[in-house]
């Protein structure tokens, strides 16, 4: 009776989850839908299929400049954020110093600061040190914005590697540096790739902070923002948005798969339960900080 009851409840909940996912995805999927629509307005009824809005993306030098800018900035910022995420979380777990723990806590602080305040604080800083709004300023800003993500991913990854492996390496005479480079880094490679890809996406899509830090060369989100004022360029923005969404989905999907595969591949598994606990601990830190 009780089991039947919960199963019935589960079915209703299942329907709710489907409705929720529809709500989650439907507005975003309208962008690709109308990007193929032969009309300057995003409205029903659909006017027929066209690729002309995608054609307008070609030969647009401002757009391609912004794209290159975004790709370069995202690559450098993701490299920086991943490097910081690796070192900060490694020292937090194994450095055993209050300084390392403080750095790790502060690195996750940007989650509790609205983007607009991160933006203005960096704007003041880069003007003070004489850099001014520039691509380097954007890179610094994006390292900061992506840092909580890379720290949380790397920290849960390092925590999931059995302590005995690192201890064995040290026992066998490997130096700290060798242990880190030859043992711990290879074991966490999937997480490193995942952290890099997600940091890349964060930087590539970031708007709130970059708004304050960009000089004369816009990034792709800033280009989109500048086009939103013109009703005429709406279809072009939708075509561009569709391309960005498609790329984001693919990169994020690979990153998520790598992150979970990495977590389950080397987690200790005397029983299924302890393996689940490792995963949970990682996810817990991700959201409670």
């Amino acid at each position: 009776m009780s089991i039947a009851h919960t199963q019935g409840g589960g079915r209703w909940l299942g329907l709710y989850v489907i409705a929720y996912l529809v709500f989650l995805y439907l507005p975003v999927l309208l962008i690709p839908l109308f990007s193929f629509n032969n009309s300057i307005q995003a409205a029903f009824p659909l006017q027929g299929f066209t690729l002309q809005w995608y054609a307008t993306l070609y030969g647009n030098t401002v757009l391609s400049g912004a794209l290159v800018n975004s790709l370069v900035i995202a690559t450098i910022a993701a490299t920086g954020a991943t490097l910081c995420g690796i070192t900060v979380s490694y020292m937090d777990l194994y450095g055993r110093s209050p300084l390392a723990a403080t750095i790790s806590a502060v690195a996750r602080l940007p989650i509790l600061i609205p983007g607009v305040i991160v933006g203005i604080s960096l704007l003041i800083l880069i003007n003070l040190i004489g850099l001014g709004p520039s691509r380097i300023a954007i890179v610094l800003g994006h390292i900061l914005v992506a840092l909580p993500t890379t720290v949380v991913i790397m920290r849960s990854r390092f925590a999931a590697i059995p302590k005995t492996i690192r201890e064995a390496a040290l026992d066998l005479g490997a130096s700290d540096w060798t242990t880190f480079r030859r043992v711990m880094l290879p074991l966490s490679l999937p997480a490193i790739v995942s952290a890099f890809m997600l940091a890349f996406l964060i930087s590539f899509d970031e708007f709130i902070v970059v708004f304050f830090l960009a000089g004369t060369e816009p990034t792709l989100p800033l280009y989109i923002w500048s086009q939103l004022r013109f009703p005429k360029s709406l279809p072009t923005v939708m075509a561009l948005g569709t391309s960005i969404l498609a790329a984001s989905f693919v990169i994020a999907a690979i990153a998520e798969i790598l992150r979970h595969r990495g977590l389950s591949a080397t987690a200790p598994r005397p029983t299924d339960q302890s393996q689940a606990k490792q995963t949970k601990r990682g996810e817990l830190q991700w959201h409670s900080t």
């Binding site: 600061i113 305040i117 003070l128 708007f207």
Partner: protein, 294 residues
């Protein structure tokens, strides 16, 4: 034996070069880019604007203006109400999804978690833009309602309203809320729930008295990660909110842009951080009352 143990004591063999190299990148970023930069905002908030980068003199004039001008009270209150509504809507709609993931999803759990987190990694600007085309006067919703014969005239009532801001933000931050709640639900020992039903609790009673209180740390964490970015948001009000839904983030952005009064903008930012700090402290206090397991 004892020498071996000593040699293995953590830190005993740590070369200082390794430690410095490993601590340096994080120390630079956290102390310079986060703490020093935030310190600059605090410093600037007490300065007078003279057009120079760091202002001049020391005074409380900026804070006096923030506190005395009703405009800032109105806008701050509006930001708080909008952020509170968004947080409430996000958490309440996310809870059943998290509950399903934790207790009913079975083999579909991995796939569903994946589907729920995926939008998190797509462009925030594009997600807001999607709502702009949905709510516009000649947009998706109006045209769909007319096509289906429900309405005969398009309405201006959707776009440029505070309600549009709430819906858009609730949608944009939806993925943030599910995972913390899911983790909290998933870590409740199953024996607790079994004990409740063994002792005669009906399913709803055991949910209300056992599951819900035990999941509160996750609910609070979810509320926090939604509340903080929404209270300072300026993109959504600008795109779908119209003049009636100016938020505090909009004002800060304007002071560092068109209005060009950085010290005053910094004072507004400090005020927002104090409000967020108060909210975080209340959440921490509530968390402890529920007996945090996080």
């Amino acid at each position: 034996m004892s020498t071996i143990v000593a040699a293995h004591a953590p830190g005993a063999r740590s070369s200082s070069g390794f430690r410095v190299a490993m601590l340096l990148p994080g120390a630079l970023v956290t102390f310079l880019l986060i703490l020093f930069a935030l310190g600059l905002v605090l410093f600037l908030a007490f300065r007078n604007n003279d057009g120079s980068l760091l202002g001049t003199g020391f005074s409380l004039a900026n804070f006096a203006t923030v506190l005395s001008d009703p405009l800032y009270w109105t806008v701050t209150l509006r930001s708080l109400i909008i952020a509170a509504l968004v947080t409430l809507a996000t958490v309440v709609t996310a809870y059943p999804v998290a509950y399903y993931l934790a207790f009913h999803a079975g083999r579909r759990r991995g796939l569903l978690l994946f589907l729920v987190t995926l939008p998190f990694w797509t462009s925030y600007l594009l997600r807001v833009f999607a709502w702009k085309i949905v709510l516009a006067y000649n947009g998706v919703l109006n045209s769909a309602l007319i096509e289906s014969g429900i309405w005969s005239e398009p309405t201006l009532a959707f776009l440029n309203t505070p309600a549009a801001v709430v819906v858009t933000l609730a949608h944009a931050y939806a993925p943030f809320a599910i995972l913390p709640i899911y983790v909290a639900l998933d870590t409740i020992p199953k024996s607790l729930i079994e004990a409740a039903s063994d002792l005669g609790a009906r399913p709803f009673t055991s949910f209300r008295r056992v599951v819900l209180p035990n999941s509160m740390p996750g609910v609070l964490a979810a509320a926090l990660v939604v509340f903080v970015p929404t209270v300072g948001d300026y993109v959504t009000p600008a795109l779908v909110g119209g003049p009636a839904s100016t938020m505090i983030g909009t004002l800060i952005q304007a002071e560092f842009g068109k209005a060009n009064d950085w010290p005053f903008g910094a004072a507004l930012a400090v005020a927002v951080m104090l409000v967020i700090l108060a909210v975080v402290l209340v959440a921490r206090f509530t968390d402890r009352r529920f007996g945090s397991r996080t």
